[in-house]
């Protein structure tokens, strides 16, 4: 019989995988362009609502909606990047914060207008909804699915970053933008593609989140805090850092709620402030 702490760990890691999907895009684009995009979770929300609409109004299969959620979020991000973000790459932190918060507010309101303020339930196929018992532990099928998706995405990301030319360009640009430009790398295009990818992953995360945490218009802000914490703690521009931080935060959150519920979110914030004071650039950050 496995002790309950293993169950807590497993749930924490599953939650962490979800948070990783939501955060990795922001971490890389922040490290690449130093652009503070607080509307990142709005893209996640778009992915979530796409899934809801496709399943509810068009009767699609859950798994089929996932790629659409990804692309819808990615496409929206490309449009926003072209029209607005592009002009603010050199702007002050404050301006970027304000613009992107403004966009987040707008997205929350639009979502509330179309979908109402309550949570959107979706019908998972029955084989996804159960759980099975392994060595005395209750393993939810969906959580296992999340872990699997997380691992697959992580492997894909690492392969892209380490073994493709595009990945090399991203790494060079994160490391030293000026030098990368000097070497002829089209940093702006690299950024646009990375941004789209990151937003797409967020959209995927948003779709996957519905079953675990629910989807309502406030999603863009509720999870923004977690994402920002993970990005700050993990280090800008670091995929591995985001992965580690996401697991850390996921486990802390679940463990906190399980063992010391009266602490609430206190533990997470404390972890963040403490880590940032120790390593201002994040656990794996560079500056």
């Amino acid at each position: 019989m496995l002790p309950p702490v293993i169950g807590v760990l497993f749930d924490g890691i599953a939650y962490g995988m979800l948070l990783f999907l939501l955060s990795v895009g922001l971490s890389v684009t922040l490290g690449l362009m130093n652009f503070v995009n607080l509307a990142h979770c709005a893209f996640a929300m778009i992915g979530g609502y796409v899934t809801v609409v496709l399943m509810k109004d068009f009767g699609w299969n859950f798994f089929a909606t996932l790629p659409v959620a990804f692309f819808a979020a990615a496409l929206t991000s490309i449009i926003i990047e072209r029209i607005l973000y592009r002009r603010l790459y050199g702007a002050s932190d404050l301006d970027q914060v304000l613009l992107t918060i403004g966009l987040a507010f707008i997205s929350v309101s639009v979502a509330a207008w179309f979908f109402g303020t309550t949570q959107q339930p979706i019908e998972m196929p029955s084989y996804m909804r159960g759980s099975f018992v392994v060595m005395g532990l209750n393993i939810a099928v969906y959580r296992l699915f999340l872990v699997a998706v997380g691992i697959v995405v992580t492997i894909l990301l690492i392969m892209t970053v380490e073994h493709t030319r595009f990945g090399a360009q991203v790494r060079a640009a994160v490391d030293n933008q000026r030098m990368a430009r000097g070497l002829g790398i089209d940093v702006d295009r690299t950024f646009a593609i990375t941004f789209a990818l990151g937003s797409g992953l967020a959209g995927l995360g948003g779709a996957l989140a519905i079953e675990i945490v629910g989807l309502d218009p406030q999603f863009a802000f509720t999870y923004l805090v977690y994402v920002l914490i993970i990005v700050s703690v993990g280090g800008l521009g670091s995929i591995g850092g985001s992965f580690a931080a996401a697991c850390l935060i996921g486990i802390s959150d679940i463990a906190g709620k399980y063992y010391v519920p009266q602490l609430g979110a206190f533990l997470i914030y404390l972890v963040m402030v403490a880590v940032l004071m120790w390593r201002p650039a994040g656990l794996f950050g560079r500056r």
């Binding site: 607005l84 932190d93 304000l98 929350v108 201002p280």
Partner: protein, 335 residues
């Protein structure tokens, strides 16, 4: 920034000293502004409690302007000090006595102490790390206050605050006359202090930090010490604002420490224009009047327009309303 941009051509100032003195003299428009703040007593007697809220928010925005508009420190958690001031004043009135001025002083000191402690952390960081740390500290304090229900009343808020008549004469009533008079007076006094600070050598140093952070150590300046100092002063001012709202409404709730309050004050300041002394005041007035007028509509629609406003301000009006106005008047005076 000086209250108005320095003229393009060399004026016939009698000396550089006189010139610098001249930059800080009171402009007519300022005098008109402050006289206008007295109008609500006669023109809007039914809106005095709203006016009182505006005065408090203006003071809060002014405190944020000091660190953000002048020293360039971006904080997403400034409500922490507002809340500390509010709770201190509330607890003081509840457990010690209801005299308002002593309550105000105690709350100011408390907020200043917390600000001083926090300033050591804040002054060490910049950019995203700083934003996150201020956000995190604000959220932490909010959570702590939520959990410490025995002290703060938790989500029910602080109950049983009773405040005495101001100077033994003026009672806080439902009409809000005393409330507005009190909050306006406090705002004005703190404003005078702030104005003096902006035009002092320290104010110049803060602008130097904002204008070029790298150059400061190269001229022998200890930027961190400056930032710690202004952060402490700003925390004290935010605490005063919180104390006033606690005293005039005789309630304090967790909302005073919330992220929403930190975000709202940021919007007010940016709307009016940061770094212009009056930006926070103008922004607070416009924001709260608008919110009052639109209080019928559902909150998500209010936030839609706030979002649009933010996008518009950043893309088109980077220095807020006052910045836009001064650009227009500059263009006009050039004709």
């Amino acid at each position: 920034m000086a209250l108005q941009d320095a003229p393009m051509t060399t004026p016939q100032a009698s000396s550089p000293q006189a010139y610098l003195q001249g930059l800080s003299r009171w402009r007519t428009i300022e005098i008109i502004f402050w006289l206008a703040t007295l109008l609500p007593f006669w023109l809007f007697p039914n809106y005095l409690s709203l006016a009182s809220q505006i005065a408090v928010a203006a003071l809060f925005a002014l405190s944020l302007d000091l660190i953000l508009g002048y020293a360039g420190v971006v904080s997403l958690g400034h409500a922490a000090f507002f809340g500390v001031g509010a709770y201190t004043a509330g607890l003081f009135a509840k457990f010690v006595w209801g005299e308002v001025f002593t309550g105000l002083i105690v709350a100011t000191i408390m907020a200043a102490l917390v600000g001083y402690a926090a300033s050591f952390i804040v002054a060490r960081f910049r950019h995203l790390t700083l934003i996150m740390i201020t956000l995190g500290m604000g959220l932490l304090l909010h959570e702590a206050a939520n959990s410490a229900g025995w002290l703060t009343g938790g989500s029910d808020g602080l109950q049983g605050i009773e405040v005495w008549k101001v100077a033994g004469l003026f009672k806080f009533d439902l009409y809000g006359t005393t409330a507005y008079g009190y909050s306006l007076a406090v705002l004005f006094v703190v404003f005078l202090f702030t104005r003096r600070l902006i035009n002092s050598p320290f104010g110049l140093a803060l602008r130097g930090i904002r204008e070029n952070f790298v150059r400061m150590p190269a001229i022998g300046a200890d930027s961190r010490a400056h930032i710690r100092k202004v952060y402490t002063i700003s925390a004290a001012m935010a605490g005063i604002a919180g104390a006033v709202i606690a005293q005039t409404t005789e309630t304090v709730s967790l909302e005073a420490l919330s992220f929403e309050r930190s975000a709202d004050v940021l919007v007010m300041l940016v709307l009016g224009g940061a770094g212009r002394l009056y930006g926070g005041l103008v922004g607070a007035a416009i924001f709260l009047v608008a919110r009052d007028q639109f209080s019928g509509i559902a909150p998500q629609f209010w936030y839609f327009w706030i979002g649009v406003l933010l996008v518009v301000v950043v893309m088109l009006l980077p220095n807020g309303i006052l910045g836009g106005l001064s650009k227009i008047t500059a263009r006009w005076s050039r004709k």
